[in-house]
């Protein structure tokens, strides 16, 4: 079963590439042929993705283990699924680059892709939005349609690959590769005169950011090698806890940190390494302090120097992590974009054809936020707690207000939609850095919701653009009278985008606001930013309702009709109704029944929140007690899940999960993982 799922995942990842290759080789001369191929292949891709969803949810049980690493469920190349035993190892054997001459313990860059709660929904959203983008582009791409759709499908594969990657270098590879198709899509098929400069500007800004991200990734990988046992040289994953350290000290023993082993590029293993090294450095300081307190006058000098070393190591680690945090965020902040790194956006969104703009705001912007939730939060939890809200939360808040005012000032509806997207993404960034379970769930859900509403908004604008070739808001008025069905969809999407209760954005925005009120956040940032975010909701309704009033109501005014024969007249066509109806239905559906989606997300958001809770505890043990985890519901488990060794929950002050035995009388057992 796992093998089938894995193959299906690979198909979903690379089918668009195949379609692109077909288009590039066949090169249909007529735009219509290329379009037909594109529509059918992308529709087929949606079916594949639905099949993947159904099989995945039917096969994989709810995972209630408290493991603090992501566990991708479907991994092509999983050695377990290749044999008959069907034991999931959450690993792969497909090596791309090995960084050491002696192969055994060599750090390897692997083709490690999989599905988990965080990326499942986004992969589905991607498949859906690219199908809609093909439909939206129907009449607008007349020149060289085949390469246009080919590049669009290449972009789809790159985005899907980035979402599915669990190897940090592989993620970067896909993340960076999205630039090449984007460059061509904006530069060759852009609608404005400045499209060449827009394409170059977009690529260069993003490239500079993502090169810094590469340095950050290298930093993360090199500072978090696999910890190995001091004597046996086997991987060593017994995390020190307060109680365990106390026990060790009461027995008069010394706790010895693990040694640095080989580095790894696998994100799940890196997560475990990060929490190991963070805890080991942190608890060494406390341990050294206690030893100093108990030291005999003779041993005092040694104990003092030990304490100094431990403190220095901790300070060094944290200062290095701070710079790595900034480097990592550089690429993601440009990609999202967070104000003030958004300066590429007006030109790129303005010049790109509207179907591409739709993809950019619905999908590509999510790559940045996804990078934060997949890499920055789990791999730098302490820095996210310390600097996430103060630095990037503040920037996000500034972005909400700034972009809202910009949106209000726009006369071009496309730019209005672009700035409204930036404003909502600011909200999303704040939600991510609230770092609580609710906030993270809300943010992860908001990625999907924002993709739907922003994408739908651009699809609506494509409707107007195809009839009048202009999106100047001053030339439109009273469209309700002329296009009642269009206006109906417009209203639903606009209200969903604003966050009306019962529609999708409300759910995720409320969850993010709830996350910001988490008492463990610094009040000024938690509640202060929550207030700004709430004001942002108000501002969103302000500019959105202004736009609705201007465009939909009032006396009928329309731009001069086109006489070139290519333009379409009349209300929503059959082709146009598919994306609009589907996205409106999803907005209502998610708004009314968000729980299934939140269920998909909950395992991984809980893991993330658990990691952050530990980081919060290490940074300030006294301030706020960590709430005890709710008792788990017993769930039906397959034999596969039972076979996995669970890691014990983290309970500061509770029963220790591990007692560190004295060294070297009783060497630690080696970890089976």
């Amino acid at each position: 079963m796992n093998f089938i799922l894995g193959s299906l995942l690979l198909t979903v990842l690379f089918a668009p590439l195949l379609a692109a290759a077909c288009l590039a080789i066949l090169r249909p001369a007529k735009a219509g042929t290329a379009r037909t191929i594109a529509v059918w292949t992308s529709a087929f891709h949606v079916l594949l993705t639905v099949a993947l969803f159904v099989l995945y949810s039917g096969h994989v049980n709810q995972d209630n283990s408290l493991s603090l690493g992501f566990q991708p469920k479907v991994v092509p190349g999983d050695p377990g699924s290749m044999s008959d035993s069907d034991v999931i190892t959450y690993k792969t054997n497909w090596t791309l680059l090995s960084l050491s001459p002696d192969g055994v313990s060599a750090p390897t860059v692997q083709f490690f892709v999989g599905l988990d709660g965080l990326n499942l929904l986004l992969i589905g959203l991607t498949s859906l939005m690219f199908f809609f983008a093909v439909l939206v582009s129907w009449g607008t791409i007349t020149e060289r349609a085949a390469p246009f759709y080919a590049w669009l499908f290449v972009l789809q594969s790159c985005v899907n690959g980035a979402f599915a990657s669990f190897d940090i270098i592989l993620f970067y590879v896909f993340f960076e590769l999205t630039l090449i198709p984007s460059f061509f899509l904006i530069g060759q098929w852009g609608t404005g005169g400045a499209r060449r400069d827009a394409a170059k500007k977009f690529v260069l800004y993003t490239l500079l950011g993502s090169l810094l991200t590469l340095i950050g990734i290298i930093g993360i990988v090199l500072t978090n090698p696999i910890p190995v046992h001091p004597t046996t040289n086997k991987p060593f994953y017994f995390e020190p806890t307060p109680r365990a350290m106390t026990t060790v000290e009461n027995e008069g023993n010394t706790y010895v940190n693990g040694k640095t082993g080989p580095i790894t590029f696998s994100i799940p293993i890196l997560m475990k390494n990060v929490s190991m090294w963070d805890s080991m450095e942190y608890y060494s300081v406390g341990h050294a302090e206690n030893r100093l307190a108990r030291a005999t006058p003779a041993g005092r000098a040694t104990a003092e120097s030990e304490l100094a070393t431990a403190q220095q190591n901790l300070a060094q680690r944290r200062s290095m992590q701070f710079w790595i945090f900034l480097a990592l965020m550089a690429g993601f902040a440009v990609k999202i974009p967070i104000v003030p790194f958004h300066t590429w956006l007006p030109s790129a969104y303005g010049e790109a054809p509207i179907a591409v703009t739709m993809i950019f705001s619905a999908i590509l912007a999510k790559l940045g936020t996804f990078g934060i939730i997949r890499i920055v939060i789990p791999l730098l939890p302490e820095m996210c707690v310390l600097y996430g809200l103060p630095l990037f939360g503040t920037l996000g808040a500034i972005g909400i207000v700034y972009a809202a005012f910009c949106a209000y000032a726009q006369r071009d509806l496309k730019m209005l939609a672009a700035y409204s997207s930036v404003s909502h993404l600011g909200f999303l960034v704040i939600g991510l850095f609230s770092l609580s379970r609710e906030g993270l769930s809300g943010a992860a859900l908001h990625m999907v919701n924002h993709g739907l509403t922003a994408g739908a908004l651009f699809a609506l604008l494509a409707f107007l653009s195809r009839r009048y070739r202009t999106l100047d808001a001053t030339q439109y008025s009273g469209m309700w009278a002329k296009y009642p069905r269009f206006s109906f969809y417009f209203l639903i999407i606009a209200l969903a985008s604003v966050g009306l209760p019962g529609l999708c954005n409300f759910v995720s925005e409320m969850l993010m606001l709830a996350g910001l009120f988490d008492p463990r956040n610094v009040v000024i940032f938690g509640r202060g930013l929550a207030i700004v975010a709430a004001v942002g909701v108000f501002l969103a309704s302000w500019y959105t309702f202004t736009m609705i009033r201007r465009v939909l109501f009032g006396p009928v005014v329309e731009p001069p009709a086109l006489n070139d024969g290519a333009a379409i007249t009349g209300d929503v066509h059959a082709r146009e109704v598919i994306p609009l109806m589907a996205m409106s239905a999803l907005c209502i559906g998610i708004g009314l029944f968000p729980q299934p989606l939140l269920d998909v997300l909950q395992t991984d958001t809980r893991r993330l929140a658990g990691i952050v809770d530990r980081a919060r505890y290490r940074l300030d043990p006294q301030a706020i007690p960590i709430p005890e985890p709710a008792p788990e519901r017993p769930v039906r488990r397959g034999p596969v899940e039972n076979a996995l060794r669970e890691e014990a929950p983290f309970q500061p002050g509770g029963v220790p999960n591990v007692v560190i035995p004295p060294q070297p009388k009783n060497p630690l057992p080696s970890n089976p993982k």
Partner: protein, 531 residues
């Protein structure tokens, strides 16, 4: 004991020739081609001789690789030629580059020049390969001259205009100056250590470190770096490159952009002890300030190359500056390799392996660009400036695709060879130890390199923008562009670039095996303490 009758030395010297059979074959073929010129000047004959010579050298190299490993013999170090694994790696690269250059040079040799042109090329190839295996100062210098002297001829031969002659004379004079500087430095090394054998020199310098470092040795190596810096176009020894590139014949420039760089990096690595000694025990550790100088050299070379390339309109000038920038990236590898002191060993990438990989990647991508330029240049239509490439994807889709791959590789985009090269360089540099006096400056340099890569991207994107986003400035010419061999070479190079992008392991693994010293492996099995 009479040194004249030392059996070990005699053995070392007599078994020397079997180590350079492929090079002897290349030079022999060059002589044959020159002699055959008297009988017939038909290009076909000379091309046949050249191709056969390169293939034959490949066969000989294969036999040497598979049969004996002379490196392990203890006496081998006494000989002026040392067959290190890195040299074996480089020989394959050099033969491959030679083959591709033969493919692209057909148009420029015309009817009369093939014999002289190709024999010069063969000698230069043999010279490059000899540099990689030289273990003696005299051998090193002679091998370097074996590259320079044919290049003078090559630059001058096809030059019919003033610009080309100016470029030839400029290269000639400055090359001689750099050789003189190099010789001056080497003479100091000889004077200090009393030997010309590089193994012995390194050993003497390392042994002499006990009582502090010798400032004279530092001075000597500074001069040597200045001399070799000319060949790898390191700033500030780069100033000849743009003029020479602009004026010279393109196929010769392709050779000039690659062979001296391979030779230069090997010569530098050999002088700094990187090829032969373990990284933890080099003759010029951080305390001698040589690594600091390399740091500055790398930073300056990258920055000057990239920023000056921004200002160029002429494609060949731009490629000259881009070549300078790529030398800067490769110098990062030398900075990494010299960063270790006693008890430390590189863990994942030692810098030298990244250089070996990057040399392959650089050869592929720059040859692809030069080959396309040659293909597009015809009698009536020159392709000199960025504007000449406008709309190329409409007029020459295949050339445009090749340029796309090559330029993306120069940017360092994933799925091209350039990405894995930069990744290896960055990982090595970031992982360089902080405990030896340079502090966090290696990490600073990594960030610096990343920013530089972004500046470089502006240059290449400008060209890509012209090729793909603009419409052609001149009407599509109906005539075919003559010989299609350059296009074949370009396609081969871009296929190689893509293959290495998907599976860098292919070359990376070999480079790493060739660059790892057994002594360092010993250090690495004892897991090092956190840095």
């Amino acid at each position: 004991m009479n040194p004249l009758k030392d059996q070990l030395t005699i053995d070392a010297l007599t078994s020397l020739f079997e180590l350079v059979l492929p090079e002897i074959a290349l030079v022999g073929a060059a002589c044959l081609s020159l002699l055959a010129c008297v009988v017939s000047s038909r290009p076909f004959l000379h091309y046949l001789i050249t191709i056969l010579a390169i293939v034959g050298a490949g066969v000989l190299a294969f036999l040497e690789d598979t049969t004996g490993n002379a490196y392990i013999r203890e006496t081998a170090f006494r000989a002026p030629i040392l067959a290190t694994p890195a040299a074996a790696f480089a020989r394959w690269l050099i033969l491959g580059v030679g083959f591709l250059i033969v493919l692209i040079s057909r148009r420029e040799t015309g009817k009369q020049l093939s014999s002289e042109y190709l024999s010069c090329l063969l000698v230069a190839l043999a010279g490059t390969s000899l540099v990689t295996r030289a273990n003696d100062l005299v051998m090193l210098y002679l091998a370097l001259e074996m590259i320079s002297i044919p290049t003078y001829v090559l630059l001058y031969l096809p030059s019919r205009n003033q610009q080309g002659q100016e470029s030839a004379i400029k290269y000639f004079l400055l090359s001689i100056l750099s050789s003189a500087i190099l010789l001056f430095g080497l003479s100091y090394l000889y004077g200090l250590t009393g030997t010309t054998n590089l193994t012995a020199i390194s050993a003497t310098l390392v042994a002499g470190q006990e009582g502090g470092h010798s400032p004279l040795a530092t001075l000597a190596v500074v001069f040597a770096i200045a001399g070799i810096g000319f060949r790898i176009t390191a700033v500030p020894f780069h100033y000849y490159a743009p003029d020479v590139y602009q004026g010279g014949p393109t196929a010769v420039i392709a050779q000039l952009a690659i062979l001296p760089k391979i030779a230069g990096f090997f010569a530098l690595a050999n002088l700094l002890g990187i090829i032969q000694r373990p990284y933890s025990d080099l003759p010029f550790p951080v305390a001698t300030q040589i690594p600091l100088m390399l740091w500055v050299l790398a930073a300056a070379t990258m920055t000057f190359g990239n920023t000056l390339a921004l200002l160029q309109d002429n494609l060949k000038r731009m490629l000259a500056y881009s070549g300078i920038a790529h030398s800067g990236y490769m110098l990062l590898g030398l900075v990494t390799a010299t960063a270790f002191t006693t008890g430390q060993a590189p863990r994942y990438a030692n810098g030298w392996d990244a250089i070996l990989y990057y040399l392959v990647a650089y050869s592929l991508m720059s040859l692809a660009v030069f080959a396309v330029l040659i293909y597009l240049n015809s009698e009536d239509e020159s392709t000199e400036s960025v504007d000449d490439l406008a709309g190329l994807h409409r007029t020459h889709p295949v050339s445009a695709a090749v340029l796309l791959i090559a330029l993306l590789s120069m940017i360092g985009m994933p799925l091209t060879a350039g990405f894995a090269g930069k990744l290896g360089l960055f990982i090595g540099l970031y992982d360089a130890p902080t405990s030896n006096g340079m502090g966090q400056s290696y990490k600073t340099l990594t960030v610096f390199a990343a920013i530089n890569a972004a500046i470089g991207a502006v240059v290449y994107l400008r060209v890509l923008g012209a090729i793909f986003l603009r419409s052609p400035l001149r009407p599509e010419s109906s005539q075919t562009r003559g010989n299609r061999l350059p296009l074949l070479a370009a396609i081969l190079c871009s296929v190689g670039t893509i293959v290495l992008g998907f599976y860098p392991q292919l070359v990376w693994h070999r480079g790493q095996k060739a660059s790892t010293h057994p002594a360092d492996r010993m250090v690495n099995t004892q897991v090092p303490a956190p840095r």
